[in-house]
Symmetry: C3
Subunit: 294 residues, 3 copies
């Protein structure tokens, strides 16, 4: 049995943040941006803050391509010493992210399902375990996998519009959130709220999401980016190394649980999703979505 | 080490509830009722909702007979495909249930104590692990084992009368709530509230119980059954299978803990309750109750 | 695998408190007091309540001497059948305790670091595992180790002055709270609040500390001792043995975790604190404190 988080004290001198060791900010310094197909990444080297903007219309669904870009972008930032924090937000109106892309789970090969599910796991492992400060600026609805993305950040700010909702609504679709979605949710809202919300597949309108602790703060839409930047500055005032070790101490047990059962989790997903009955109901669900759109 | 809840996704097609596959509701269809000595059970086959009404005056104490009836009734409903949810309430004014029947623990044989304690465990294992939606409509006070019964449901609605109280007050009687009472309570109210409430043996008046999360909602007495039915309908709008697997994922760890230590737990109870000092103080407690009544 | 808390019911008859078996209180009975250098201990034998007053100016820092006195005093009270509860408070204006004494960690031998860290562990093990009712009457600021001391009590009452703050602010100093500080904090405030507060090294002003559950209650300074006595009386109304077993059932898992890793935890502390880089930054921090004072 390994010692449960005996890190105790950090093993580097107090650093008061990397930024302090960077050249002073130039007020007019242009941001460096790199854009892929589905995510726009901007890094302000003077503040050390990157923004990842999801721009994959119509609903920022988490397709294999999106997840791959997400992981590559996050890894780039993680390895860039000029970057200390990331704000996640959407460039698509009214939606933060609609969650896992159902077309990736329908009529594909076993190999494809395995690749897709591994990418979903990878997204969560990298984000929940990130050394950077992560802030979700939730400017639209965020069901299922979109909610997981927000839950995996250090802090969640949501636009106070009650038309925007957020939640792990898998049960509404007849499916069950994986155990690591559940673990993440329990860490944020506690056992009672998580149990009820998961059983009901609740999509909480912003005010209710705030009341239950799903999000930490509500702001008017026009204040969202300003607020996210202010929160980020507050977190970046801390020395990176101590903050990182603290975060790891808090999240390690839940991260280790998926790492210990990762292949099993993939096999479970494949055997479930390959059933003809499930394929049929997913096709029906997609038909319904198409009709709704037109 | 077994995978911690890798169920991941449900293994049956989305079913949108068994009721949908039943014949259409007949508005005037009479309810089927079966009554035992201590519990009245009514099943409305059109809605799939059963009501279990405790009618064991004076205080619905959890005697061996009551517990046996409870388990048999619950099992019947569990195995009846026409039943998807159960509402628990009392037919006795001012009391939901007074908890474990002290006369079962006083002056009886070792075999009797073993049988009684196994029945208490069985009640909890069946109720906390039920596949059905379980709603407690708490229309009176609910100390100790009565509180456990409510805590083991999916949702708790209580009459807002501050004269009705609820709590695990074992410590007030000089005894300690078993670890699985404690686990259930921590899952509902969290560690700090559970620790204080258990140490103080608190009986929370309805408004305080609501504030601390012991119950989810308060209503005027005359609205209780209507509210319970509305909450039940909301839960039954979900497909059964996904909701059941989600519930199991949330509750499995705590259920498994008792299953792993069940015989030990019985032996502990017997060796405690058999002590002459405990027998003496239980007799004194019963004398006190008798005097209070007269 | 040992049974997880199968204590189930207490193994002594209901005792309604030791005090009841003591000679009746004499209204004018003088309190017994024993004072060391740094802590004033007063025991009122008629009520069974002791008060430990920290009087180690300027800031009641937890030096090796302080910790040693603390443990000896607590053990004396624990072994004194006339004592059933302890109130912890400060005799120094505006500060409850400033936490671990940095001079004990600077320029000393390996043996000294080991001795100091063992004393810190001992303080927590004895306090968090105490059989007595423990109430923190927080009448001043209480950062880091001072906050741990309060968190380890059964109940926390704080003066409502927003100039007084409390929190595990280790991350602000570039260090990481040990895992057992974290476990204690999570038990009190839950995972989300603990994660954010520890990452930010937050010092919560009294009103915020109350809002987040770090302290249970706020009172005006002049009402503090009266309120602490009233809360203590409420807890002492319970029979000791059942309350003690309940407390142990709630706290055992977290206590056992340090006991299982105690030597490792000490070695970790030594290897961290012995680094020249850490020594340098601690010296700089002490310089800063000196300048601030003058």
């Amino acid at each position: 049995c390994p010692p449960p988080g005996v890190l105790l004290l950090c093993h580097r001198p107090p650093a008061w943040g990397r930024a302090a060791r960077q050249p002073p900010c130039l007020p007019l310094a242009p941001c460096r941006a790199f854009s892929n197909n589905k995510i726009l990444v901007e890094l302000d080297e003077s503040s050390g803050v990157a923004t990842m903007k999801f721009k994959s219309p119509p609903v920022n669904s988490l397709s294999l391509d999106f997840l791959t870009e997400f992981c590559i972008s996050l890894e780039k930032l993680e390895n860039n010493r000029a970057c200390r924090g990331v704000i996640f937000t959407s460039a698509v109106p009214k939606i933060f992210s609609s969650g896992l892309d159902i077309t990736e789970m329908c009529g594909k090969t076993t190999e494809h399902y395995a690749e897709f599910w591994r990418a979903v796991q990878e997204m969560w492992l990298r984000l929940y375990g990130s050394n950077m400060v992560t802030v979700a600026a939730v400017n639209g609805s965020s069901p299922a996998g979109g909610c997981l993305l927000a839950l995996s950040c250090d802090y969640r700010i949501m636009v106070e519009n009650p038309k925007f909702s957020i939640g792990l609504n898998e049960a509404q679709l007849g499916i069950v959130a994986p155990f690591w979605f559940k673990d993440t949710f329990v860490n944020v809202v506690g056992h009672r709220v998580a149990e009820r919300s998961l059983q009901l597949g609740s999509l909480h309108p912003a005010p209710e999401a705030h009341k239950f602790g799903v999000v930490d703060e509500l702001v008017p839409e026009e204040k969202l980016q300003e607020k996210a930047a202010a929160v980020m500055a507050q977190w970046l005032a801390l020395p990176d190394h101590a903050r990182q070790l603290t975060k790891s101490m808090m999240r390690k047990a839940v991260l280790d649980r998926l790492l210990a059962h990762r292949e099993e989790d993939i096999q479970n997903f494949i055997s479930f999703i390959s059933k003809e009955s499930i394929q049929k109901s997913l096709r029906m669900y997609m038909e319904m979505l198409k009709k709704k759109k037109s």
